[in-house]
């Protein structure tokens, strides 16, 4: 086993490195040069020309958001939803921790414990959407289709981390019981014809 990580005692500087940024201009002339070079780059006029061209064509496709909204596809990956089982309404998440493991931004954390019925109980679950890159891995890996991506892309807050109250993500219980919870078709959902590909296991009874 490598002991390297235990030999770095400089806790404050761990995991940080410097990125290459040109030094800020310090003289007045330097500042003027920077402003001029940023302002008169050719790209500006390319952009202006495109807008002007489309304007004079009078062929406008603009969606009148928020009065109009484009439909989102099933594979769209916005803020997560936590699903429930139909009928019983039990939360689908079994606390396997695969989403926590696979998450590449390391933004899922969960707490589990043994409950009175000797089952694994998820006592707390969070996604730090301030870090989430909406890659969809968590939804794909989830063996229970418990964590999925929803279509909710409208979030207003000064912190993405505010969108993640667990109770907001969780399907309301009446929606699960009444069967109105939408089954997820996106990333990680069961593919069609899955049944045909499963080999049966012999049973002795």
């Amino acid at each position: 086993m490598s002991l390297e990580q235990f030999q770095d005692r400089n806790v404050a500087e761990q995991n940080y490195f410097h990125v290459d940024i040109p030094d800020y201009p310090t003289t007045g002339w330097g500042k003027v040069k920077r402003a001029a070079s940023r302002t008169f780059k050719g790209e500006l006029f390319v952009g202006l020309w495109v807008v002007f061209r489309e304007m004079i064509k009078f062929d406008i496709h603009t969606v009148q958001y928020p009065k109009e909204k484009l439909p989102v596809g099933p594979r769209y990956r916005a803020v997560h939803e936590m699903q429930r089982l139909f009928e019983s309404g039990t939360e689908r998440c079994i606390g396997c921790g695969l989403c926590e493991k696979i998450c590449i931004s390391n933004c899922i954390r969960m707490e589990t414990k043994l409950d009175e019925n000797s089952r694994k109980l998820v006592t707390d679950y969070t996604i730090n959407l301030g870090r989430c890159i909406f890659c969809g891995y968590c939804a794909e890996v989830c063996p229970e289709l418990a964590i999925v991506h929803g279509p909710r892309y409208e979030n207003v807050s000064d912190q993405r981390a505010h969108f993640t109250d667990f109770s907001d993500m969780l399907t309301p219980i009446d929606a699960a019981i009444s069967g109105t919870q939408k089954e997820f078709d996106g990333f990680g959902a069961v593919t069609p014809h899955e049944d045909e590909r499963v080999k049966t296991t012999p049973l002795a009874y």
């Binding site: 086993m1 606390g95 012999p202």
Partner: protein
Amino acid sequence: MENNITITIDGKEIQTREGEFILNAARANNIFIPAICYLTRCSPTLACRICLVEADGKQVYACNAKAKDGMNITTTTENIETEKRAIMEVYDVNHPLECGVCDQSGECELQNYTLEVGVDSQSYSVPDTHKEAVDWGLIHYDPALCIVCERCTTVCKDMIGDAAIKTVPRGGDALNTDYKAQMPKDAYAMWNKLNKSLIGTADRSDMLDCTDCGECTAVCPVGALVSSDFQYASNAWEQKQVPATCAHCSAGCQISYDVKHTDIENSDEKIYRVKNEWNYVSLCGAGRYGYDFQNADAVKDETAFNAAIAAFKKADTIAFTSSITNEEAFILRRLKEERGYKLINNEAKVFKTFLDDYSKISGQQLYGADLKMVHASDFVVSIGSALKTDNPNARFAFNNSITMNKGAGLYFHPIKDPVIDGLSKNVMSINHAPLQEETALYLMLDLFADKENLPKDITKYLDSFHSKKMITIEETIKEEIIEKVMVKQLNKETGEEEEVEVEKKKMVPKKVSKEVEVDDNALLAQLGAPADFDEKLQKFLKKKEKFSLMVGPDLYTHPNSRNLARLVALVEKYTQFELVMIPALANTLGVSLICDLDEEVGEYTIGYNTKADFTLSALGDGDLDMPALNQQEGTLTSINKRVNPTNVALSYGGYVLNDIANALGLDAKYTIDYTKELGVVKGFSRESFDDLPNHYTNSGEEVRGYLLKRIGIRRSSNESVNELEDIAIQSDIVYLANPVLQFTAFTNASHQLHGEGGLYGSEAFMSKHALNAGDKVNVKTAQGEVRAVMIHDNKIDGEIAYLPTFDVNLNSEALFSGYRFSSASYTKV
């Protein structure tokens, strides 16, 4: 052990030892052979049969087939692959599909091998049975997950010695008989056995009654045996392993603290469990469950720190315990050099004195052997140690050598120990009276010393214990008797058949008693050895080659310890026994080598982990906080004379001893800067901390820290020893020892082991004094008196009770004048 033969595995030539199992040879050379049931250091059980290989054209089990010179081994043939596939399919029959929540998931050998072999469909089936999970206190057993590999029962018997669990009937339907013909042979045989058994307690009671080492949970390849506390607490893969050294006893086991953030809100690391390399090191329950003894929430309290500096300036004495690292001990040594403090640590002091006296005769600074040698020996003697609680690993070594090497052992201790007695029928306990440890050592000389070379005085003295006596023995002899029998004979004259009487000689066995003259050894009588001692010993000693002797703290604290040390040295010198001394606490050996300890306490004392005028405490109950051993990096010196590194598992926010030392004029950035400096101490090396490794290799080689150098000491030609004095402890006796799972206040600080100490006594003790568990008892000795709760301990027997040291509220040490036994009176209140 030398590699002396060459074998070929899959075309690769490797060196190994004659008689080594093929599996171990392969592992040592990084060749993978699947194996589930085999445990290194334990006997092969052939439960899983997946380790099939072909050796010189014959299919054998790699875990129990021995390597021979020139052997040619193939790890895979078509038949072996078919067997493996069938074996893994069988293991998966009815195995619950609960990997998603199983605690073993991610480190499960059933998962691993199922994927390795590529089981993607099932061909076999048998009706499942309903199996309730059971709660065995610290351990949880879910039979539904059990694959009956028997690793748990094997380790419990061959290594630990409790033999507290065994295979029990499973119930349920038998296998479909057609399978016998259809299935690969080994897979069927394996399944047939599996389908008949499960694991249960050895006495078939509902509750597991054992010394709770938890080793069975460590070796269990699946989630069947798990720690109750860890159940569903965290997934294995979320844990970060911090390689460390157990801080509780002198065995210095290698462990890894498994840490992860405390919870969603709190990112501070928390220890969730302790793991070990169970193939090469076995933990006791204190090491496994007593991990969270950290000094939590300590902060840099400047006022307290300044008070500490003022106290150090005022003090002339530092008292401390041996639960500190070598580096801290070295800081204390440096402080003594700089500022002239007296260093007080009685427990290490007596050990040091013992070592010094021993060195005078042996000419060595340290005892010659280690526990590894005990594992390898076949005749082991233990004197002066409550083995199973003083150093659990010494007990494992005692048991392992006896079970694995067809060995035998003698256990000299005043307290009768049913666990030791239960290890094997080849263990004989001699429960002598306290203070008779000296007699036991004389007996060792008498029985085993090379009398030719032993100093004449001693031989003569030993002879004085022998006399002749007449005893009556019953003997079976063959006696010739003459029998009259009727036989049919043909009368030649008459031609008729008639019966005649003839005499026949016949030998018949007959019991006679006769008087014989035998040797009478008064030492045996003095020790209260069993009547059949001689006879049994003769049997025990047959075909024995490697002898080891373990001596323990009862000797170091004995009033005649100086003489005992000399006797121990003589035993090592004049007998074939290799010697191991059991240091009492985690770093007693290190402290006694590093610090020059004093006896007299001065005016004003600083206590480190012990109460004094100004107290530094890693338990958080002193005037200034110190880090506990799981919050520190540093080294600890083990019974195996090894300097083992340990790393920081949990963060610590307060001041450390090094800060104080720096304020007092020493200069080191980190405590571990002193690791290198240890080189000035006899035996230690000048290695820096970051260069110290801490792991085992695939061949089981211990690559941890470094070994203390062997240092010769000038030997004195005087080998005289004092004769036995007639000393005894009158009246009732109390002993100073800890119950199973406890060592110090630190083990008691952990949440799983926390408890209240009391007076521990056997059934016999309680009935003698008319006490019941839960009664309050006043224990009074010449030194003082404590009030304790009576606690029934079924792991001891006889009429001696003991008081523990792990519960600081009891202050039991105050009742003893040094020696671990004391006369005492008990009154119920």
